[in-house]
């Protein structure tokens, strides 16, 4: 499908909304993306026409729901290049997918074993491991970044000398700096050292092609809602042999093979990890989102978003007292550095707090995120309390970036005059 921006925008009903007479400018896509008609229609159609419980009945609606749910699993498997659909576990969120691995794979860890994390991680890829540390004495080893926030594979070698590292859990794209670590290289290094690798693809999933077989990661997690799909559904990919060896996470209906008065046996994957009624309509919505999104060429999406980001970075850099964080802070950007970040950029402004900035922008219909973005360790590392984040999606325009930068400039001069 040709990449025609006005046609893409027309498919997102919310983009025609006005806020106090201002057109909505949505630049908070790293928090959640907006939904195209195709997703809204597919979920509506499912509830109006086919709603039943998947894998739980012989009647027509149960059958249609089961087919729709398993079709979604197949679509996800194809989208990320999994070998088999059984390697796709549905969860309620990316966070739950990471917790699943921490709790279930975590059962095999002993006191003194270590988990390696990067300083870029979101709290959802930090706290589940800290919970293991508190419960079982698991060590957490941190990979540091450089002054631009970039990770270097050598850091991994330093980590190896410091503990018995069983797993590296790492983001594929920072939700603050947009940095994409050199994953393939790091995964190869980690594997050579006997570690498994879990990838948090919450941000990366909508901004660049991910192939789990090419990457050779052992686990990968993402959510539907940042991929233009609904909230309430997440995905865990895991290599078949690993998932088969892991104990169940939640207990309940459908995750069992047999239940007796004094014991149970677990079902095969993926059912083993899908206790209780699943987010069926959300799986249908995610399937529709993947179908909608994959009609475009990845190169078109990536080029469009990179243009928006580098344009935003250079315009923002011209505002006095504004400091863009990370690799996009460099004015005349070498291409390689420019492409080590995507999806979002963050910045601070002398004399204007991010909460004040985003509240005023919000009243002008411009949606940006402020705060620590659930990355307190990274903010401490960067020596700042909070930042403002601008994150782009497939439907954003250069004009929206210009209007946003102009509004920020006005607010800065009002605050600091």
């Amino acid at each position: 499908m040709p990449f025609h921006l006005p046609a893409i925008r027309r498919q997102f009903p919310i983009l025609s909304r006005q806020i106090d007479g201002h057109p909505l400018i949505y630049l908070d896509n790293a928090a959640t993306a907006q939904k195209p008609e195709a997703v809204l229609e597919a979920m509506d159609r499912f509830y109006r026409h086919s709603n039943g419980n998947a894998h739980r009945g012989m009647h027509v609606l149960a059958e249609e729901a089961t087919i729709a749910f398993e079709d979604a699993r197949n679509a996800v498997a194809r989208f990320i290049g999994a070998r088999r659909p059984e390697e796709i576990i549905f969860t309620k969120s990316c966070t739950e997918a990471i917790n699943l691995v921490a709790r279930s794979f975590g059962e095999s860890l002993k006191s003194g074993d270590a988990i390696a994390l990067s300083i870029l991680e979101h709290h959802s890829n930090v706290v589940p491991w800290l919970q293991l540390k508190e419960r079982d004495g698991i060590e957490i080893l941190w990979l540091d970044c450089d002054a631009e926030g970039r990770l270097h594979p050598e850091e991994l070698r330093h980590i190896l000398d410091r503990g018995r590292v069983k797993l590296l859990s790492i983001t594929a794209q920072s939700n603050v700096l947009g940095i994409r670590p050199p994953l393939a290289e790091m995964i190869a290094l980690a594997h050579a050292a006997g570690m498994l690798v879990m990838v948090d693809a919450a941000q990366a999933i909508a901004h660049g092609h991910i192939d789990v077989r090419a990457l050779d990661c052992d686990f990968l997690a993402f959510s539907g809602h940042k991929l233009y799909g609904p909230t309430g559904i997440g995905v865990l990919y895991g290599k078949q042999k690993l998932l088969e060896a892991m104990p169940p996470f939640l207990g309940g209906g459908m995750m069992i093979h047999e239940v007796h008065r004094d014991h149970f046996t677990a079902a095969d994957i993926p059912a083993k990890f899908e206790a209780g009624t699943q987010p069926i309509a959300e799986a249908v919505g995610l399937h529709a989102a993947i179908n909608w999104f994959t009609q475009f060429d990845w190169n078109d999406i990536v080029n469009h978003e990179q243009e928006l980001l580098t344009h935003a970075a250079s315009a923002l850099n011209d505002i006095p007292g504004l400091h863009v964080l990370g690799p996009l802070s460099i004015r005349h950007l070498p291409l390689a550095i420019r492409h080590s970040a995507s999806g979002c950029l963050s910045f601070t402004i002398d004399g204007v707090h991010p909460h004040d900035l985003t509240e005023i922008l919000g009243r002008k219909g411009i949606c940006l995120r402020a705060g620590h973005h659930c990355t307190q360790p990274l903010h401490k590392r960067l020596g700042i309390a909070a930042s403002t984040r601008l994150s782009v999606g497939i439907y954003n325009t250069k004009e929206e970036i210009d209007a946003t930068v102009e509004a920020i400039g006005e607010i800065v001069s009002h605050f600091t005059r």
Binding site: H353, H355, E359, F415, T416
Partner: protein, 145 residues
């Protein structure tokens, strides 16, 4: 820019009483963990009156201007008078009503001062619900709890 009226911005740019005191009777810090805004208040109390107030802090214009305005108001006030201050008093000082999204910013200063005084009296710190006196603010109660 209602909330960002000139009074608030003026106090944000030039905060009043923003200095730590060398020998305060009591010192107390409060942090709004939702956003990281932090205030530390030093009080010198004499005969039940707030003789001197100093403070240090970081955060948004509303929380910092609120502290600046409150420190002007408190100087010379009795401890009882300070303990009786309410959200409505803070709204009056700020000159604009503060909505549900930002009420914690507006009340962080009052919360810090009230808990400084409780510490001075040897009492336990009070929670946000008590500072905000949510009985009369049902919509706020729904947000905070």
């Amino acid at each position: 820019m209602d909330v960002y009226a000139e009074t608030i911005l003026e106090h944000y740019r030039h905060p009043q009483g923003k200095k730590r005191l060398p020998s305060p009777t009591v010192t107390h810090e409060e942090v709004n963990h939702a956003c990281g805004d932090a205030l530390t208040v030093d009080l010198v109390l004499r005969d039940g009156n707030i003789a001197v107030i100093g403070w240090e802090g970081t955060g948004c214009a509303i929380s910092q201007a609120g502290m600046s305005l409150l420190s002007e108001e408190l100087s010379g006030m009795t401890a009882e008078g300070a303990e009786a201050l309410t959200k409505q008093d803070m709204d009056a000082m700020l000159g604009v009503p503060i909505g549900p999204r930002r009420f914690k910013c507006a009340l962080l200063s009052l919360h810090t001062v009230k808990n400084a005084l409780r510490k001075w009296r040897g009492e336990e710190a009070q929670g946000w619900l008590e500072t905000v006196q949510l009985a009369e603010h049902e919509p706020l109660r729904r947000i905070i709890t």
